[in-house]
């Protein structure tokens, strides 16, 4: 499912207009992205939580060529699946 399909499904199930559904989806993901970019944690009970992890610089390898490359320090969001989602997705 992509963002447009998510918007269309939300429109039908919440009985709101397509424009409203699009705004809600934008608010949801936009606010999470905003919080993470400010280094803030995100906690959506039942779905997931995110926090930003700092990675130090390290020497990696290009897996195709085997060449050594220096990886500069970076930040990545770390995803943790919520309890309800975890239980529903697993067999």
């Amino acid at each position: 499912m992509n963002k447009l399909e998510l918007i269309a499904t939300l429109k039908n199930e919440a009985n709101i207009s397509k424009a409203e559904a699009a705004k809600v989806v934008e608010i949801f993901f936009g606010n999470m992205a905003e919080a993470l970019s400010e280094g803030e944690r995100v906690e959506i009970r039942g779905l997931c939580s995110f926090f930003v992890k700092d990675y130090k610089s390290y020497i990696g390898r290009n897996p195709k060529t085997g060449e050594k490359v220096v990886i500069t320090p970076k930040k990545l969001p770390f995803f943790k699946c919520g309890k309800e989602l975890k239980e529903r997705v697993d067999y």
Binding site: M1, N2, K3, L6, T9, L10, E13, A14, I16, E20, K23, V24, V25, I27, F28, F29, G30, N31, M32, A33, A35, L36, S37, E38, E40, R41, V42, E43, I44, R45, G46, L47, C48, S49, F50, V52, K74, K75, L76, P77, F79, C81, E84, L85, K86, R88, V89, D90, Y91
Partner: protein, 98 residues
């Protein structure tokens, strides 16, 4: 301070929906995402990332606390792949526009 569901509900409320309707809309949105993943379908949000369902094979593991050997059964888990846009936003917040 962490961003929570109630912060998002408050933002939806600002669009002009009642408090109750705002909660229903967000719960509805979460339910759609969870249902989709439960059915084994990935959820792709351009500009944010991709929620994927992965099948993990049964494997031998170890309890990191006790060092005890144990068997991890075959299971299905959700993984997240951050989009390039979100990654840039997190690494260079001052450069992003919104």
């Amino acid at each position: 301070m962490a961003l929570t569901k109630s912060d998002i509900v408050a933002k939806v409320h600002e669009l002009g929906f009642t408090k109750k309707k705002s909660i229903d809309i967000i719960e509805g949105l979460l339910e759609i995402i969870k249902r989709e993943l439960e059915e084994g379908e990935d959820v792709l949000i351009s500009g944010f990332g991709k929620f994927c369902v992965k099948n993990k094979k049964k494997r031998r593991g170890r309890n990191p606390a006790t060092g005890e050997d144990l068997m991890l059964r075959k299971r299905r888990v959700v993984t997240f792949k951050c989009s390039g846009k979100l990654r840039n936003k997190i690494n260079h917040p001052e450069q992003s526009d919104n």
